[in-house]
Every structure is written in C-alpha cells, then in structure tokens.
Symmetry: C2
C-alpha cells in the first residue's frame, strides 16, 4: 500500500468515513506491512481522545452498559469509538452477535463507530493490537474511545494499563465483592458500577464492595466511587459519565493523566521494540543465524548469553 | 566474583562437591552478574545430560515418584540431578518440606543432587531460571537431570519444552483422563504413568487415557506408552525407566533429539536476547531515552514504531 493511499485513508477517517476507520483498524490489527506507515500518518492527530476501559465478569451486562454509555456520551455531545475486545475469540471484524445488536441502535449515527476485535491472535493479544486500534480511533477524531472487554484472566489488568479511566462492572448475586478482591480488580478500577441495581442483592454487593475497598486501603488521592445502574433502562448511566468526568478532572489536576499516558506509550514502544527484535532475529542471514548459534549452544561450543550477544550484534548491522 | 572463583566452582561441581553445585544454581537462579561467566565456564561441559520432565496434577504422587525414579536410576548406575520447580512459590533453595524428606533418603548419596526452585521470580518463571539451572546440573556431570513441576497453568507446557522426555503422571479417581485432555497434557507427554495403580479405578484411568489418546490421533512416529506404578512401594518404576530409555532411543534414531535440543537452545537464546534488550533500553542515557520517546509519542510528535526504531538504534551503539 503506497503512502498516498494510507494518507488518504487517514484523511477520510478524519472526515468521518466509517469504512476508512474500519480499514485502518484492520491494517493495524493484522500487523500488515503498512502498520508503520499508518502509525506515522496518525501520530500528529493522536493524544486527544479520552480512553475509557470497561470490564467485568461475564453476565454483569457489559454490552448493555456500553450501549447505554454510548447513548449518554452522545447526548453530552461527544463522538464515541468503541472497541469490543474478546480475549477468548479468534474472530475479528464486527461479525459478532453483540455488535450487530449494538450497530442497529447506533448504525445511523455518524458520531459512533463500533468494532469487535479478537485478542487471541499470534501477536500476543491486547498488548499488540489494542493500543494500535486505539490510536486509529484517536487519530480519526473520536472524543472518547471506549474499550470493552470481559474481565477474565489478565484482560482487565491489560485494559487498565491502556485506559485513562477504568470502569469495573459488577452485578448483584454473583459473589462479585469477593471475586473483585481476588481478581485484582480492586487495584485497577477508577470507577465501580453495580449494574442490575433493581435486582435483589444490589445493596449487599455495594456494601461488600465498600468493605473490600476499605480493607484494600488507600490508593492515593482518588477514591473510586460506586455508581448504581440499570443499564437496560439507561438508569444511572449519566452518573457513570459524571464519575468518569470527575476522574478525568482529578487526573488532569494532579498531572497524573500525562504521566499515565507517558507510561502507556513507554510500554507500547517497548513491546514494539521486542517484536521488532524478534523479527530481526528471524531475518538475520535469512533466519540461519539463530539456527547456527542454537546448534553451537546445543553442542556446548558456546553459551546462550554469548550467542544472544552475537545475534543482537548482527541484528544491529 | 572473579573469573578464578567461577572456574573453581565449576571444577568443584564437576568433582561432585554438592555445595559448589548449589552455589552455581543460586548464581544463575538469581540472575547474578556472574551469570554470563557461569554459563561460559559451563558450556564446554554441557549437552551430555539427558533431561527428563515430570509433571502432573497436585495429589498424583509427584514427589514419591521422583524419589522412586531417582532410586531406580541410581540402581542402573546413573547419577541424577533433580530440580523441583514450584510454579506458585516465591521460595527457593531447598527449604521445602518435600526436599527435606527426599534429602533424608538420598542425603548420603554423592550421585544425587536435589534442589527446589521457585519459578515465580521477577524474571518470568521457568522460562528464565530453569534452563540455566539445567545447564548447571548438566555441566556438573549428572547423567540425568530430572525436572519435576506441578502440572498447573502453563507449567507442564514449559517443562515439556525444556525436557528431552516428558513424563506425565496421573492417578485414579481424579477424572484425570478428562483433565489431561483439557490441559493440553496429551500434546506434551512422551510417557504416561498411572500412579497409585493399586487403587480402585486405576484400570478406568488407563482406559480413559487410551480413549483420549486414540481420539487425539497420531503424533508422529512415537506412541506414548502408559505405565502403571505404585511409587510408594517402588512398583513399576523400572518400567518407567525402560519407557524413558525407549523414548530416548527413538529420539536418537530419528534425529529428533538433536532437533529438540537445537529448538530449546534457540528459545533460550531468544529469551536472553529479549531480556538483554529490555535491560539496554532501560540503560540508554541513564533510562532517559525511553522516557523521552514516550513523551514524544504521548504528545503525538512521533509514532511508537519510529520511537522503537530510535531506541533500538541507540541500544546498538
């Protein structure tokens, strides 16, 4: 893909052409050869979107909450790009059922872009594709980028490292207070939402969560609020937006927003440097260099540290 | 630590001084500055030991089996170095109860060395410390290096990637046939051992395992045998040794042993290269280089790929 067409795609994306945005996400997600060119073309337009991470266990109502949150943000005059990251799926590109349902509601709204992403690719999941996709939506000019993922395994920790504000969803009757404490969610959440607050046990969930938070002790100057919602009826969702805004104001006031973003960029650069190094190692002398030193190490003719130094020296040439 | 003393330690280790072996394991395990020197001094003496991995779910009798296997190998005239890797423990150095029990039995035998290792260190678990510790025991001249670990999470996959022969232990009445299929154990085992074979349900476990293996289809020319043992009474353990020997003969005949070892060395070299790169990135201009490019990326003045290239170029100087 020539420079012209990437530049044109970025221009179209910034003009609000959904197809161009989708194409750029595909390019970075699949680590196409154009990925560097896309990143370079986007860079001058990045750093403006506010990135919100939304996570929670299966069944707490993440899709419904995302949908309601998009509605509330649109009502506040903000454009929203949504990345629905499925850490267990090898499928990408908006083919999921959840997407179609959500697309129906926001399909005619040019201020909303929704995209499903698989994270189980060969490139190491969230760590690789998601930050690049966030850069696309940021560069395309969306005011808010909402990254939604299922809170299983390490996914919620990874999302938190990518987001400016991390919203953790809970629901009554799932023992979530304890689950949250276990899963390390208490360490990543900036805002808690107890969804399905009209259900039996909602107050218990709020109380359990307060108890767990009190036990966890102080996490600096920000005290994560607990917001109750019934996302299916859009109840309490404005309060979620207000909590996100309050957290943003806090981050800006303390200078923590810039610090978080620098830290995020540093992690991203490191991950790319490591991936680049791995690729270069695979390319040195047509891939023969690694085979050669591996054989020498296996035969006891050199040690793995000396072999690694030799490879690193060759990749630098 | 001067070159003289590392060389002396290696010489002592090769003379069978357990304290010297233990000291070398500690040096590589803690990634001491001497780790490169140790690896270089060991290299000429490596590549001779046969590495056996032994894994299984908690409760199948791993410690007892390791103990019995060490006895059988000693009876066959082989010296044995044992690494008991605990993927969940932050504690190392032979302080565990299991070690003391095993040490009592083999404490007076200079042909046996037993060492516990934690894998939950800051350097990435099995991937870092275990191969280096294997190199120490290999270089010290043990005929067999036995690496034992609990088959939880990714540990059994990692062990399999380090071993010449991987032995997977099962026991009756734990639904292990299904567990094995789930955990991907079917893809890594070269020899299956159904321990506690005197217990009710042992035949069912063997049958379930045969069924699962048949379903899993052909894995090349080697068909993993299923051996029944009562490790607590050392019954069937000679059959395990015979199965390992048969697998070794197969690997040697097909040339797969050399291929496995080259592959293992390549992975080890890559891991060291990546760790070295990360360390160098942290050191460029006293750590300021990463901060500087991260700030530029966060501000949209450059993109993360260009920043990574710049860092890589600086680390190469």
């Amino acid at each position: 893909m020539g420079r012209g067409s990437v530049g044109e795609l970025v221009a179209q994306a910034r003009d609000g052409v959904p197809r161009a945005v989708a194409r750029l996400v595909s390019l970075v997600e699949n680590a196409s050869p154009a990925v560097r060119e896309v990143a370079a073309a986007l860079a001058p337009h990045t750093g403006r979107a506010y990135v919100v991470g939304l996570t929670g266990a299966p069944g707490v109502g993440k899709s419904t909450s995302t949908n309601a949150l998009v509605g509330a943000l649109r009502a506040a005059g903000k454009t929203v790009g949504v990345l629905a990251v499925d850490p267990s799926s090898p499928f990408s590109g908006g083919a999921l059922l959840g997407d179609r349902i959500r697309m129906e509601q926001h399909a005619t709204d040019p201020g909303v872009f929704i995209r499903s992403m698989a994270s189980r690719g060969h490139l190491g999941g969230l760590a690789w594709g998601t930050p690049q996709a966030i850069r696309v939506l940021d560069g395309a000019g969306f005011d808010v980028v909402l990254v939604e993922t299922v809170g299983v395994g390490q996914a919620e920790i990874e999302i938190a490292s990518l987001a400016d504000t991390t919203v953790v969803l809970l629901a009554p009757g799932m023992g979530d207070g304890i689950q949250a404490a276990k899963a390390g969610i208490l360490e990543v959440a900036d805002v808690y939402v107890v969804n399905k607050a009209d259900r039996h046990g909602a107050e218990t969930t709020v109380r359990d969560l307060r108890g767990a938070l009190a036990l966890a002790g102080d996490r600096g100057s920000w005290r994560p609020p607990i917001v109750k919602t019934v996302a299916a009826r859009a109840e309490g969702v404005d309060d979620v937006v207000a909590a996100i805004d309050a957290h943003r104001a806090h981050l800006e006031r303390t200078g923590e927003l810039a610090a978080r973003r620098r830290h995020r960029a540093a992690r991203e650069i490191e991950a790319i440097a490591v991936a680049t190094l791995r690729a270069r190692i695979g390319e040195v002398r047509g891939g023969a260099a690694l085979d050669t030193v591996a054989e020498q190490v296996a035969a006891g003719r050199t040690d793995p540290f000396a072999a690694a130094d030799q490879l690193l020296a060759e990749t630098a040439n």
